[in-house]
């Protein structure tokens, strides 16, 4: 399911929350919308999901216009809000059945989907326990389950791992990866760079309501002009000049057996570089590849760290 957002704008009083936002997510694509707290991510996806009317702009989900055909468009969208939006006094299965019915599932099909979703999220053993008795991480998983029970074509997740312990976070990311592998389009908002890098094919960086950059991680890093770095530990010193002459290497600085090499596309150049070191009779004890990340991209574009927030 293709999502096309064109020139979206929304203000609250004098404050412009989203300004002239455009993006496109193709069928089966995983798109990350990044930005610090207050950047306008939640406002943007509230409009995309039809929960908030834009002041201007157009949103198409497949061939449905969200602002004029919201009910039909919402059949194609699964939404996982940032807060844990489950009924605490209903069981996990009852929560899923309620929202499944609202999306038109009935009878055996509903039973099957509820069971599959509980299994996918690792909640099958707690199906008949009230959600209020769950840990925060389990409630987060149920929160996601409600959004994907009806097998939407486009799954929209608004910072689904905020405040989650590492174990549950990993379970959530695994589940999202499995769904994406099944061909579901994904719109994922987060301010955790590592999640975006793990899950998303492309990312858009939003700051103060404005899309300031968009592309794959590699494309964004390339625009940044920064090189990868290789941090090496050897068993004996080598000649720095020989290392510098290896293909793709821009610079090499060694202090005895430890050194750092700046290189264009480290993963592809690594084999040749290790061969050059071996030619000097040295062996590599350890090697660490350090690639410029989206955090660096954001810092470069805005002059501040992504997790500073305050935008």
């Amino acid at each position: 399911m293709t999502l096309v957002v064109s020139r979206l704008r929304r203000s609250f009083g004098d404050r412009v929350a989203v300004d002239d936002l455009s993006l496109r997510i193709d069928d089966g694509e995983r798109y990350g919308l990044l930005g610090p707290n207050g950047a306008g991510k939640t406002t943007a996806i509230s409009m995309i999901c039809g929960l908030l009317r834009p002041d201007a702009g157009r949103i198409m989900v497949g061939d449905r216009e969200v602002t004029t055909d919201a009910v039909e468009a919402r059949r194609e969208i699964g939404f996982v809000p940032q807060e844990i939006a489950v009924y605490g006094d209903l069981t996990a299965a009852e929560n899923l059945r309620l929202f499944g019915r609202l999306h038109g599932s009935r009878g055996a099909e509903l039973d099957r989907r509820v069971a599959e979703t509980l299994e996918l999220l690792g909640l099958a053993g707690r199906a008949h326990d009230r959600a209020e008795t769950f840990s925060g991480g389990m409630q987060r998983r149920l929160n996601i389950g409600i959004g994907l029970l009806h097998r939407p074509s486009l799954l929209v997740l608004d910072e689904p791992t905020v405040g989650v312990d590492p174990q549950s976070r990993n379970a959530i990311l695994d589940a999202v990866e499995r769904l994406a592998a099944d061909g579901m389009s994904l719109l994922y908002t987060t301010h955790y760079m590592e999640e975006a890098e793990r899950l998303c094919d492309r990312v858009g960086i939003l700051d103060e309501g404005v899309m300031i950059a968009e592309g794959s991680r590699r494309e964004l890093v390339a625009e940044l002009g920064q090189l990868d770095r290789l941090r090496l530990s050897l068993d004996r010193p080598v000649d720095e000049e020989v290392i510098r002459s290896a293909p793709g290497v821009a610079d090499a600085v060694f202090d005895g057996v430890n050194g750092e090499v700046s290189v264009d596309d480290a993963r592809h150049r690594l084999t040749a570089l290790l061969a050059a070191i071996a030619d000097q009779g040295a062996a590599v004890r350890s090697v660490e590849v350090i690639e410029p990340d989206l955090e660096a991209v954001f810092l470069h574009l805005t002059g501040r760290a992504l997790r500073d927030g305050g935008a």
């Binding site: 939640t42 406002t43 996806i45 509230s46 999901c49 039809g50 929960l51 908030l52 009317r53 009910v71 039909e72 919402r74 059949r75 969208i77 939404f79 809000p81 940032q82 807060e83 844990i84 939006a85 489950v86 009924y87 605490g88 006094d89 209903l90 009852e94 309620l98 929202f99 019915r101 609202l102 999306h103 038109g104 409600i146 608004d158």
Partner: protein, 371 residues
């Protein structure tokens, strides 16, 4: 339509599990009804039972049994005289609230029992009670006459075959103590309970489940309508329970079931309507609770739930702006006269408050954000 009931049923399931609605809508009002009946109810009785004078002339075969009948009912504040003019004087000078006497120009085949009420507004409630008692006694006498007629030997001269109660001055549609407080308490608590149920909409908004409902392929009105349905079911079930509870445990008399059902339906409309209006106007669950408490307490005070309102003057007029006054009067008519057009009118009076409130609720449309 299916989605509406799916959401309403989920809400009802949650209310049952929380138990707070059960306590607020059923157990608390029943307990308070009992407390009223045991304490304030007896005080109400001394206000409501008239200081009555009955004219019993020598040889009158009917007013004698009437006096006995009234005394059998525990009617102790009773003066018996044989002079109709004296009785009128006792009423006119305020010594007594009402007099029961034969009408002077009655047709030969019937007896007209005149209930002569004091014009003092403070006595009107007592006069109304007097008429209720007179009607009840008259009905008992008529029944006894009919039974006597079956056993009488041929040729016996029987008393007049009909017994008509004629009212003068006071309306006769006034509830007696247990029922009065049962009806008032039920109305007040059910409207309060309805607000507490409807105001969970704000809780749903705060925890994100409202936004989640709106993400389903359903109309934007669905959450509000579903909440209204759930609220109505809660109020209807609680009303039925309170009606039966007050009848069984407190001896209340609400009158014919058709009238009770109609008035109960009207109360459901008003309880739900005002609750939804308050919920849509208030900015938070706390604010909705505060507004609901203020409105329903005002309605209860001015409508006579806690204190009986005089039937004339400004307070009487003011009480017409409370659905509880219409409910109390409606049940009074239903219990005193029986189900009929007058009960329908009172039910309409009760429901009108809810319909106006529902219009207010319908005019309020809020935009819901996901977070």
């Amino acid at each position: 339509m299916t989605a509406l009931f799916v959401v309403a049923f989920a809400d009802l399931r949650r209310f049952v599990r929380s138990r707070s609605v059960l306590v607020f809508a059923v157990l608390a009002p029943l307990a308070i009804m009992g407390a009223f009946a045991a304490t304030i109810g007896s005080a109400f009785g001394s206000i409501g039972v008239p200081d009555l004078v009955v004219v019993e002339q020598d040889g009158d075969p009917l007013l004698g049994p009437l006096v006995d009948g009234l005394r059998d009912e525990g009617f102790e504040v009773l003066t018996v005289v044989d002079d109709p003019d004296l009785a009128r004087t006792l009423v006119e000078d305020g010594t007594h609230d009402a007099a029961l006497l034969r009408a002077p120009d009655a047709a030969s085949d019937e007896i007209e029992l005149l209930v002569l009420g004091n014009t003092d507004s403070s006595a009107e409630l007592s006069v109304g009670v007097a008429e209720v008692l007179a009607r009840r006694a008259a009905a008992a006498i008529a029944t006894a006459q009919a039974l006597d007629a079956l056993d009488a030997p041929a040729g016996t001269t029987l008393p007049a075959s009909s017994f008509v109660v004629v009212e003068e001055q006071a309306p006769a549609r006034v509830l007696l103590d247990e029922t009065y407080f049962a009806v008032g308490t039920a109305g007040f608590f059910l409207c309060m309970a309805a607000v507490s149920v409807a105001a969970t909409m704000h809780e749903d908004r705060a925890n994100g489940t409202l936004g989640r409902l709106l993400m389903a392929p359903v109309g934007r009105e669905l959450p509000v309508l579903a909440k209204a349905v759930a609220c109505g079911v809660v109020v209807a079930l609680a009303f039925t329970t309170l009606h039966l509870g007050s009848v069984v445990f407190l001896g209340a008399d609400w009158g014919p079931i058709a009238g009770v059902a109609l008035l109960g339906g009207a109360l459901v409309i008003t309880a739900v309507g005002q609750a939804m209006a308050i919920t849509t106007v208030a900015v938070s669950q706390h604010a909705a609770g505060a507004i609901g408490t203020a409105l329903n307490t005002a309605w209860a005070v001015f409508g006579g739930v806690f204190l009986v309102i005089p039937r004339t003057g400004f307070l009487n007029t003011l009480s017409r702006f409370s659905p509880f006054r219409w409910l109390l009067d409606g049940v009074g008519v239903n219990a005193g006269v029986g189900f009929g057009a007058e009960v329908v009118v009172h039910a309409g009076g009760v429901a009108s408050f809810g319909l106006v409130a529902a219009a207010v609720a319908a005019s309020r449309r809020r935009e819901v954000r996901a977070g």
